[in-house]
């Protein structure tokens, strides 16, 4: 009776934590409630873990508590130390750990099952463990490679080689065959192989781990955010799979929620870049424009400007739009930009930020950075909102953005970004573009915007340039 009661309590607690996860995600629909949502979700996690620790028969508490402490310290240390610009890779690392843990738990459950019950695995257990193992291992190693690329410790280029797809297919085949072996448990060998039921699982894990590396290595560094979102989805699915292994509803519900979330983010990112997921994962993207092409467009058409001139323009401007891009993140220029916006706003200038959905390297990347620099939420305008206003804008300051303001997207059908909606900054009276050189952005193509008559280039590092402008502006007041 006590036994049953305790199981009921645990399951109700799991239900409660599932509700808190759902509510937490629902609260993420608005910045005002998002902090609370994250806390709600964390409370859900605390309840699920706490109840598990309290109710299950814990034979080796030292191991458990040790693991929790070590993991908690490492996690907290990483979270506290990381810089905003390194966020993508950190999320990648965490995510990989989650996936890896799922694969290990599924494996440990197989080991335990064998030790306790012996005999062959029930069908559902074996299938779930195989699925969870493959997905989890791919997630762990794929995420590590992705994080390495984002952090610059692994070649960020698209590493392509002939026979690449054959290698990946072969690895997947090995993993799947090992999985089938685990599931089918060929009867003819059963007497001899019972003791060996587990090894197929580790063969599967090994193959899937190498597969994870091989899948991500060939993808260009700039596509890593998509890969990380996808792997996020995978780690959710791995957790759900482990939930099937353990018959645990909390894992199934929470894992599936995340699986769906990651999948949707992936699709949104691909859509915003106007590319298919297949193209991101397996396609060859990232050929660099030839210098001749660039010369042809830029030669003799580039007008340079200086912080002083920009400051003078701003003095008379009524409406200014700032368009940030990946370069702002690289230069860590968000504070200088925010200060400039605040100064202009204080002087009664109508200032807004025009934020493209895939500016930067993660969805919402620019918003996070600008929010960090205390830019008010309602100053950040989305593409559809800001685009109609460019024709009434005096000055547009493009800082470290390139592809997201490239008119070729609308004009040239053969360009790799063709069809991607872009910010039509060229419609403003004057466009100032701040970047370090004329080198292309992520997509590797030239940008005719730079050569337009009403565009002025402000060459230099984003942070320094913006700081110069701010100083000029302050001096002249």
């Amino acid at each position: 009776m006590v036994e049953v009661l305790s199981e009921q309590v645990v399951r109700l607690a799991y239900l409660l934590s599932a509700v808190l996860f759902i509510q937490g995600l629902r609260d993420m629909t608005h910045p005002r409630t998002a902090v609370r949502g994250n806390l709600v979700s964390a409370v859900g996690m605390l309840i699920a873990v706490g109840v598990t620790v309290l109710w299950f028969e814990i034979i080796s508490p030292v191991v458990l508590i040790g693991g929790l402490i070590v993991g908690g310290l490492v996690g907290a240390w990483l979270a506290v130390r990381v810089e905003m610009t390194q966020m993508p890779q950190l999320v990648g690392v965490f995510n990989g750990f989650g996936g890896g843990a799922s694969a290990l738990v599924a494996g440990a459950e197989l080991v335990e099952f064998q030790a306790a019950a012996g005999g062959s695995f029930p069908l559902e257990l074996a299938v779930a463990a195989a699925v969870s193992g493959i997905i989890g291992a791919v997630t762990l190693f794929g995420s590590m490679v992705a994080a390495g690329k984002l952090h610059g410790v692994i070649s960020t280029g698209a590493v392509r080689y002939s026979g690449e797809h054959a290698v990946k297919a072969a690895l997947l085949l090995v993993a799947v065959v090992a999985g089938i072996y685990l599931v089918v448990q060929p009867d003819l060998l059963s007497a001899y192989l019972h003791a060996a039921w587990v090894p197929p699982y580790w063969v599967l894990i090994l193959a899937a781990s190498v597969l994870g590396v091989m899948l991500v290595i060939p993808i260009g560094g700039a596509d890593m955010p998509v890969v990380i979102a996808l792997l996020n989805s995978y780690s959710g699915l791995a957790a759900a799979g482990t939930g099937f292994v353990l018959n645990n509803t909390a894992l199934i519900i929470a894992g599936t929620l995340v699986g769906a979330a990651g999948m949707i983010l992936t699709v949104i990112m691909c859509d915003a870049m106007n590319r298919s997921l297949t193209n991101v994962l397996f396609g060859g993207f990232g050929e660099v424009a030839t210098p001749e092409e660039m010369d042809e467009i830029y030669e003799g058409n580039i007008t340079e400007t200086s912080p002083e001139e920009l400051e003078m323009l701003l003095d008379t401007a009524g409406r200014v739009v700032i368009v940030p891009g990946y370069g702002m993140a690289v230069a860590q220029a968000q504070h200088a930009v925010a200060e400039l916006a605040e100064l202009l706003d204080a002087d009664g200038v109508d200032v807004a930020f025009g934020i493209h959905p895939v500016a930067g390297r993660m969805p919402g990347h620019m918003n996070v950075l600008l929010a960090e620099a205390d830019v008010p939420y309602d100053m950040m305008k989305e593409l559809t909102e800001i685009n109609p206003t460019f024709s009434q804008t005096d000055v547009v300051i493009v800082i470290g953005a390139n592809d997201v303001v490239n008119p070729l997207a609308n004009e040239d059908d053969s360009s790799p970004i063709s069809g991607m909606p872009v910010l039509n900054v060229g419609e403003a009276d004057t466009v100032i573009v701040n970047k370090r050189s004329l080198s292309p952005g992520f997509s590797g193509i030239p940008n005719p915007l730079f050569a337009r008559a009403n565009t002025y280039m402000l060459f230099g590092d984003g942070k320094e340039s913006m700081q110069d402008v701010v100083n000029e502006y302050k001096d002249s007041r």
Partner: protein
């Protein structure tokens, strides 16, 4: 505790629910959403706790220990990172104050 078809049913409902809820989240919040969702994946910690604590065999206990460490990193790190990011968003309104 539950059987396979029940599990599939829960899976299907959660998938629909995840889809409906996530599509309502604005692009602005996608980065924190990603790290928040990522923290939720750490739910596998629940499984890791059971495995590590029950210590049926030494091998399983070792696996469990490693799994607990990894999952805890994911949970603790994930929620903290999301919290820091979202606090900034919150701070984005500071200016009115």
């Amino acid at each position: 505790m539950t059987d396979f078809i029940t599990n599939v049913t829960l899976f299907v409902l959660a998938a629909f629910l995840g889809y409906s809820v996530i599509t309502k989240i604005p692009a602005t919040l996608h980065t924190p959403l990603m790290s928040g969702a990522n923290a939720i994946t750490g739910i596998t910690l629940v499984g890791a706790v059971v495995v590590a604590g029950s210590g049926a065999t030494t091998f399983a206990t070792v696996l469990g220990f490693v799994a607990v460490v990894m999952a805890t990193v994911n949970v603790v790190g994930g929620y903290l990172v999301s919290h820091f990011m979202l606090e900034d968003f919150h701070g984005g309104g500071r200016r009115d104050g």
